[in-house]
């Protein structure tokens, strides 16, 4: 009998429209997951990839599917006023609920199977070459098996928890809230524990890792480890099942509670009997007024909303979410570094993900509640007979919804202010005002659209699905997967980026305003359409006679089109935009069209004269430049290939030689056939100019920041380039196959270096002379010494000249900063900073001076006379080194202070690292195309070790080693790539963390003497203008300096040996 009842329950569930919709959605979602997570073709059907897909599917979809179905299935009787009918049956409430819960589990498992089938379909559709039938069958079985292994215990746990919630509250809101919190909490836990499903650079604490191993309800923490512990997996699954059954048992016993205990008993008073007189009806005439109705409706709806206990509970939970997110990390810049957290730091913790996501879900819920409330309460019969103006009803709903949104944002701000108060952090009310405005305006437009959609589409499920689709397009990669790359196809998104303490929101505020206006015009248009389409009691659908409204509709539509056009113009002003597919096609065409020029001799840029005029207020920079090109080869140059950046073409370019020009505008390539060949040693000039603007309509690129408070431009990629650039070739095997490009040989860096044509090695170094103009009060920086400074036409001019060639990677900066200077052996070291960020300046100068002094002594002199470190906004990399010019983020470099967690300052360490790049990157390295980043990044990490030990003590150095060890082990725990040597490795955790461990291990045995001697030897042989050094050259030099340690050196650097084999020998604590 129980079996028949369960089958009946499943059949009942399957009859529901929600199930008809979820079933194909499950398959579709699985299909997009199967297609969307990119991997090499060879790994498409591999076990790790299948696991990754199923893990992502369960993590993203299972909580939502469960809470949607649970909200329906578990509340079916009460939601349709059948509770008393079901109560009066022989089957007890507890048993009925148990059957409902079981039916729900079965339906979810069925949906999981459909989703796994969808994943397989997605894989098949992305495969260039399908496995045979048996292979496909096995892959399918594996997917289903994984889905069941991961999904069944999770489903049982979710359903049991929702069953318990159902018996704790008559409102399904608790279930929906539970689903949302569950989803968010797993994302946070997965991120904090270093799950490969979540991009995070955090180093997880050991206890969290262990806990997740046992309690991860999907079991992914164990399954996705490099070597899954099957016993731990078994324990995990059993624990989850035990928890599920325990909670289900509790829910079962609570099921007997009578719901009528929640409702107050109705009471009656006896009717008052008295003698009556005839009814007197003598009312004066009334005239319904739209505005009065609007205010009455809005007021009542708001009052009704705020009187619901669930709203207060929701608010309280949200406060805790904000507190939980903000409090622990408010004063944290990075591990080992404290920040005097500002309001902006707090706001950044929740403004960019939690608030939009949670706020959107709240808007969806409340818009549905406002729209269906009258229907649900059976009040529509009375309401629809009232002389309500359609222009009162919908705007009243919008105002009520926006009032709720405002309350939500105010509550968020309040919770954050409490956090700040607890942390004694200065509270900036203006920042919170801006948060409410900038987060609230797009959300408000979204809410308005929700109201309009739900007013027009009578079917509740269809309306909710359409609204949900908008959210999916907004918050998931679905838009990208569908090829919808244009920013206006990401509903209600704006280009606004997280503000920092340096430039605030200024970078993208104009873009934010433009996009927000667009969304608001769209919302107003849809709302007006919904008002006009209101056909309550009318024969025809639209109020065609309402001419003013129709005119308003037309006006809004034209304004919307105009605004959209303006946005497109604004996007185009920043430069040509290409979606990823078009960009890949363009790069493929570039390689096919110009690869042959890699074999032809090209002149080098011997000297660059540049004039850069910054206009920060207008967010514009004008550049005019001249390249002095020389032929350094033994043969003549007959053809000159000059490339420009495809996104921002040059305004002007000219060659001071007669030549036939072929210009490919699409690829930005100019081919000059010289009338007279450029003979060896000869030179010619190339003049160019360009104007760059940045209006904030797009996220800021890393190397072009044009704002009023900080302007920075890197020459590459905006300046012309000479010759063919192999760096532009497509690296992905799959893309190369797709575009019929030849396969790139998969070989180690050592082999590639050994088999290369050494004649193509060479530095791209030039002399530079630069004139920069800025408004008065601005500093400017670039490569070279400041030789002249003057004012003219209310602008500040400065001229910089390099005394010797430097690597041709120019950067130009203009900002109203303060300067602090120190002189060291003829070199001027300076730090440019915001006046309020003075604390770390002296320490930064110490780091620069100590590093310059040390490396000048042990390797070679600093290649320049000025070294400037500039405080930059917190966007892009935290630190970046150009020749003679360093940029370090404001938060980590200037605001952060050392805490007790680490015995060294991260700001000091970072300044050392970036200074070291003047040798490793701009003296050694970047001269050989086939080389890796070992000589650049890994050697800079070595310098960190040396400087910390030398100037901060051995404990500090060992602390860095321990920190990098933890980072390495976390990343490596999920790394399934083939093992490479350190020299060949290209992943960040190898280049930084593993490199630190390798050098620490080496130093432990041989000390610094042979390492420094090897670097000195490298300098003698490969210092400019000698041919550049490679990573292998350094390793060979190291072996020559410490021949007895050859085995160790090769193990650490040039052999693909697991780090675990030698890591135990590495000391991380002072004895």
């Amino acid at each position: 009998m129980a079996g028949a009842r369960i089958i009946n329950e499943v059949q009942l569930n399957l009859r529901q429209p929600l199930c008809w919709i979820l079933a194909p959605l499950a398959g579709l979602f699985g299909f997009f997951v199967g297609r969307g997570i990119h991997v090499r073709q060879a790994e498409l059907f591999s076990d790790p990839h299948l696991l990754h897909l199923v893990g992502a599917l369960c993590m993203m979809a299972l909580p939502w599917a469960t809470c949607l179905l649970a909200g329906f299935a578990l509340y079916r009787a009460t939601g349709h006023q059948m509770y008393e009918l079901t109560l009066a049956t022989p089957l007890s409430q507890a048993r009925q609920q148990a059957i409902q819960a079981t039916g729900l589990c079965l339906v979810l498992i069925l949906l999981g199977i459909l989703a796994a089938l969808g994943v397989q379909a997605g894989l098949i559709s992305s495969a260039e070459k399908l496995p045979d039938i048996l292979g496909l069958l096995i892959a399918g079985l594996k997917l289903q098996g994984l889905q069941l292994l991961i999904g069944i215990p999770a489903v049982l746990l979710f359903v049991s928890v929702f069953w318990l919630l159902r018996n704790l509250s008559p409102s399904p809101l608790l279930v929906y809230l539970g689903g949302l919190l569950w989803f968010i909490s797993y994302m946070l836990l997965a991120s904090a524990s270093g799950s490969p499903l979540m991009a995070s650079s955090q180093t997880p604490t050991p206890w969290l890792l262990n806990t997740m191993g046992y309690l991860d309800w999907f079991g992914l923490s164990v399954l996705m480890a490099k070597q899954p512990d099957l016993i731990l997996l078994g324990a995990n699954r059993i624990l989850v099942l035990l928890a599920a059954f325990t909670i289900a048992f509790t829910a079962f016993h609570l099921a007997g509670r009578c719901f009528t205990s929640w409702a107050k008993p109705a009471s009656q008073r006896p009717a008052q009997q008295r003698a009556r007189t005839p009814a007197v009806f003598a009312f004066t005439a009334v005239k319904p007024q739209g505005f009065v109705q609007f205010t009455a409706l809005a007021r009542l709806q708001c009052a009704q909303a705020f009187k619901r206990p669930m709203v207060w509970l929701l608010g309280l939970v949200w406060c805790f979410v904000v507190l939980g997110e903000t409090y622990p990390s408010l004063n944290q810049a990075e591990p080992g570094a404290l920040l005097a957290g500002l309001s902006l730091d707090a706001i950044n913790r929740f403004m960019w993900d939690l608030v939009p996501l949670f706020g959107s879900m709240l808007l969806l819920y409340f818009s549905d509640w406002l729209t269906r409330r009258d229907q649900r309460l059976h009040f529509t019969g009375i309401l629809h007979a009232l002389p309500l103006s359609p222009s009162a009803v919908l705007p009243a709903r919008v105002v009520s919804l926006l009032t709720l949104l405002l309350a939500f944002l105010l509550l968020t701000a309040l919770a954050s202010i409490v956090c700040q108060w607890l942390k004694q952090s200065p509270i900036g009310l203006g920042d919170y005002g801006r948060f409410i405005l900038y987060a609230g305006l797009p959300l408000a437009a979204l809410g308005t659209v929700f109201v309009a959609i739900q007013a027009v589409i009578q079917n509740r499920l269809a309306a909710l699905l359409l609204c949900f689709l908008l959210l999916i397009l907004r918050f998931t990669p679905l838009a990208d997967l569908l090829g919808l790359h244009h920013p206006l196809l990401r509903p209600f998104a704006t280009p606004l980026m997280p503000a920092d303490g340096y430039i605030g929101y200024s970078a993208n505020l104009d873009g934010f305003r433009a996009f927000t206006l667009f969304w608001w015009l769209l919302a107003a248009l849809l709302l007006l359409t919904a008002i006009l389409a209101n056909r309550q009691g009318r024969k025809s659908g639209v109020h065609w006679r309402n001419i003013p409204a129709l005119l308003g509709l037309a006006a809004l539509a034209s304004l919307l089109v105009q605004q959209g056009t303006d946005i497109q113009t604004g996007l185009d002003a920043n430069g040509r935009n290409l979606d990823p597919d078009s960009r890949a096609a363009m790069l493929a065409d570039y390689e096919k069209g110009y690869r042959s020029f890699a074999e032809l001799p090209m002149p080098v840029i011997a000297r660059v004269n540049t004039r850069v005029d910054f206009f920060p207020k207008q967010r514009q920079v004008r550049v005019s430049g001249q390249y002095h090109l020389e032929n350094p080869h033994a043969q003549a140059v007959r053809t000159l290939l000059i490339g420009e950046y495809w996104q921002t073409p040059l305004s002007h370019i000219s060659l001071d030689a007669k030549a036939e020009l072929e210009y490919n505008r699409k690829l930005g390539q100019r081919l000059y056939q010289l009338a007279t060949p450029l003979h060896p040693g000869q030179s010619l000039s190339l003049d160019f100019s360009l104007v760059l603007v940045q209006n904030g309509y797009q996220p800021l690129p890393t190397h072009k920041i044009l704002t009023e408070d900080f302007s920075y431009l890197r020459a590459i990629p905006y300046f012309p380039v000479i010759g063919y650039l192999p760096i532009r070739e497509l690296g992905s095997e799959d893309l190369r196959r797709q575009f019929d490009l030849p396969e790139k040989p998969q070989q180690s860096v050592e082999l590639a270096l050994a088999s290369r044509d050494k004649n193509k090695d060479g530095y791209d170094w030039s002399l530079m002379e630069t004139q920069i103009s800025t408004p008065l009060g601005y500093q400017s920086f670039t490569q070279g010494e400041l030789v002249k400074s003057w004012q003219q036409d209310k602008r500040q001019f400065r001229r910089f000249v390099t005394q010797q060639p430097v690597r041709n990677l120019q950067g130009f900066i203009a900002a109203p900063l303060k300067l602090s200077t120190r002189h060291l052996d003829g070199a001027k070291l300076q730090v440019a900073y915001l006046p309020q960020h003075q604390t770390n300046v002296e320490m930064t100068l110490d780091a620069m001076a100590q590093t310059v002094s040390f490396l000048s002594t042990h390797i070679g002199p600093y290649n320049g006379h000025t070294l400037t470190l500039v405080e930059k906004p917190d966007m892009g990399p935290t630190g970046y080194a150009l020749p003679q010019l360093l940029l370090i983020g404001s938060g980590v470099g200037f605001r952060a202070l050392q805490n007790t967690e680490l015995p060294y300052s991260q700001a000091y360490r970072r300044a050392v690292h970036e200074t070291a790049h003047q040798w490793f990157g701009h003296w050694f390295g970047n001269g050989i195309a086939q080389d890796s980043a070992f000589l650049v990044e890994s050697l800079a990490k070595y310098v960190e070790l040396v400087m910390l030990e030398r100037y901060r003590g051995k404990a500090a150095m060992l602390a860095l080693v321990a920190y990098e060890r933890a980072r390495y082990e976390t990343a490596e725990g999920h790394n399934r790539q083939a093992l490479l040597s350190l020299v060949s490795a290209d992943s960040p955790h190898d280049q930084y963390a593993r490199a630190t461990l390798a050098f620490a291990r080496l130093r432990q045995t041989v000390g610094d003497t042979p390492i420094l001697a090897a670097l000195g030897e490298l300098n003698k042989k490969h210092g400019y203008p000698a041919p550049p050094a490679s990573s292998v050259d350094f390793v060979n030099a190291l072996v020559r300096q410490a021949p007895a340690q050859r085995e160790l050196i090769e193990t650490l650097f040039t052999r693909p040996v697991p780090v675990a084999q030698w890591l135990s020998e590495l000391a991380t604590e002072q004895p």
């Binding site: 008073r269 009065v292 019969g381 629809h384 009691g537």
Partner: protein
């Protein structure tokens, strides 16, 4: 005041709710009578402009309310058969809200009206309570109260006495009678006696169509001398039509239609609207069969 011309309405599931309804309504009370599914509520909802007819016109003071529903709604008081109320709000506050929506924007006038309707429906003692906690009868009285707000020239009550105790039912009857002196009151009920006693005019609906309408008394006056009541007989006497079988002081009795006395046990009784109702029902059901 109100004219209905050839109103048709078919729902999406194919149910033909209203078929060619035409009525002319003026001041006074019109009762709508019919079995379940006859179209009474559909007709009321259509007149109240809650739903639009598929074809036909409703004219109010000569103007088509299909194009201007607000014209009628501003002069309408409507009580649906089933309705709910908002939670967390007192009876008084909800009436005030509805009064504002109806256009009673002057606060003192609004308060006067609310006090008046509360008194008329005997809800004054419950003004501060939440209608979401009312019993069925109290809620029904609330529904009547809200319908009386504003300046209703037309009042439509769908099953207004449902849930009311006998005293309140009589009270409501008197109220409806008083209102109907100067307004059009349209109401439906399953209690035929209510229509017989209250409504000056009656329309009998069957299968979406009006099968009989006119002065209430005139609808059954032609049955004088043709209605007989007596004990149940099996088989029925010849040339008789069984109208109803009921219990009378615990004993079953039947009412028959016959041109002459069907049997000795039967005695003539005054005809009622219910007799007319059953007779018409049988005639049309037989036609359909």
């Amino acid at each position: 005041m109100l004219q209905l011309h050839n109103i048709h309405k078919t729902y999406r599931d194919g149910t033909q709710a209203l078929k060619n309804i035409s009525l002319q309504l003026g001041t006074g009370m019109l009762g709508l009578l019919g079995p379940n599914g006859a179209g009474k509520s559909s007709l009321m909802r259509t007149i109240a402009t809650i739903q639009a007819p598929d074809s036909g016109h409703i004219l109010f003071e000569g103007r088509d309310v299909g194009q201007e529903p607000h014209l009628l709604r501003s002069r309408l008081g409507y009580l649906p058969q089933h309705f709910g109320v908002y939670p967390h709000i007192s009876c008084y506050a909800l009436l005030e809200h509805l009064a504002m929506l109806k256009g009673v924007k002057d606060k003192p006038q609004r308060r006067r009206q609310i006090d008046q309707v509360l008194a008329l429906t005997n809800l004054t003692g419950h003004a501060t309570r939440q209608p979401s906690h009312f019993s069925g009868g109290l809620l029904q009285r609330f529904g009547v109260a809200q319908a009386l707000l504003g300046n209703p020239q037309i009042l439509i009550f769908d099953e207004p006495t449902e849930g009311l105790d006998p005293a309140e039912r009589l009270r409501l009857h008197q109220l409806l009678h008083d209102i109907a002196q100067t307004r059009l009151v349209l109401f439906s009920t399953h209690i035929v006696e209510d229509i017989e006693h209250l409504a000056g005019h009656t329309a009998l609906l069957l299968g979406g169509a009006i099968v009989a309408s006119g002065h209430t008394r005139a609808l059954f006056s032609n049955l004088d001398g043709k209605i007989w009541q007596g004990p149940p007989k099996d088989p029925l006497p010849c040339n008789t039509q069984l109208l109803s079988q009921r219990l009378h002081y615990g004993r079953p009795v039947v009412r028959l239609f016959s041109e002459q006395c069907p049997a000795a046990e039967f005695e003539p009784v005054p005809p009622s609207l219910q007799d007319r109702y059953f007779l018409t029902l049988q005639k049309h059901t037989g036609e359909i069969a």
